[in-house]
Amino acid sequence: VNAIPDMTDTPPLEPLSSDSKTSTSAYSEKALRASPADYFQLLKPRVMSLVVFTGLTGLVVAPVDINPFLAFVAVLCIALGAGAAGALNMALEGETDALMRRTRGRPVASGRVTKSDALGFGGILAFLSVVMMWLAINNLAAGLLALTILYYVVFYTLILKRRTPLNIVIGGAAGAFPPVIGWAAATGQAPIEAWLLFAIIFLWTPPHSWALALYTADDYAKAGIPMMPVAKGAKSTRLQILLYSLIMVPVACVPIAFNMGGLPYMIVSGIGGIGFLAMAVRLFMSKAGDHPEGGENSLYDVKREALWARNLFAYSILYLTALFAALLLHHAFTG
């Protein structure tokens, strides 16, 4: 459900050991001691929170009232679907995750949960979330949820991620579906307004992900993932971040023309967009990523050269959250 990197995932730093690769295949001592918290971590809770937030926004912005309990069930299904996709992703990527500092503390990578358990857990959750959405809400929302999970797990994780530097561009669609699912849950339809929200997240994902990749490129290279800075270099990535930002910011203003967010959205998309563009220009002029550092102890702890990449990465999260919060609040209070 989400191709957005687990941006706030800051695992405990353990030395990379040779058994961290093999620990995914059998029941290690750690796996026998696995706690419910380890399984909860499989769901990528922080990514899930953004998915829930955007899905809820789609549901609230849609011009149809839905029974509050059914709305809760719809959001829960979106959350579980996102979590299932995260668990399946971690199961399939355990060995790769073990090679990267940012992800090596994840349950499968560190051997706290076995690959087969993660696959089973993710598979069952995916099935239950789609079936529940189908039974409680409607066919379209269930179909879109199933499509999103499949898109993320099969198309993005298994096919795109290791094959093309455009992995995050195409795969980003998975993270953009939740508002459309939310809208479909409320109305049974997916009109152009819902796809507009999709477009905003879809265009936001590349600059967001590449800003992070600029200062973690070493890790991606080590894991054999052709992220843009690894495949095309830092300069080309900075330019593409700027170009995507130049497209994304005007698109993020289009909901105003559809009377979707009122004055708060106008202010956030206008001022926030100018801020986004200013940071993208500043990043373009910087040397961020020219000397990749492989990530420090935390996602936000970087060398001076990469500061603008880090700043844009952090700002992009704030920007998207503010856009959807403006939409959500406007419709929650004005109907």
Binding site: Y39, N67, F69, L128
Partner: protein, 59 residues
């Protein structure tokens, strides 16, 4: 009962390890049970709401 792990060269307390594994398993089972119970309750409530909506007069 204490043995020595030949790989790690440290004492291996089999009984306390087994107790820890069982305790972890019990915690996991409890969460599975809670999850299943929640799922059943949710299906029940959704069914009630759906039936109430279906029996409401149209228009």
């Amino acid at each position: 009962m204490t043995m020595t792990d030949p790989k790690l060269n440290k004492p291996l307390d089999i009984l306390s390890d087994k107790a820890a594994y069982l305790a972890a398993q019990k915690r996991r089972n409890l969460f599975i049970a809670l999850g299943l119970f929640g799922f059943v309750v949710m299906v029940f409530l959704v069914s009630i709401i759906r039936m109430a909506e279906a029996s409401r007069p149209q228009g």
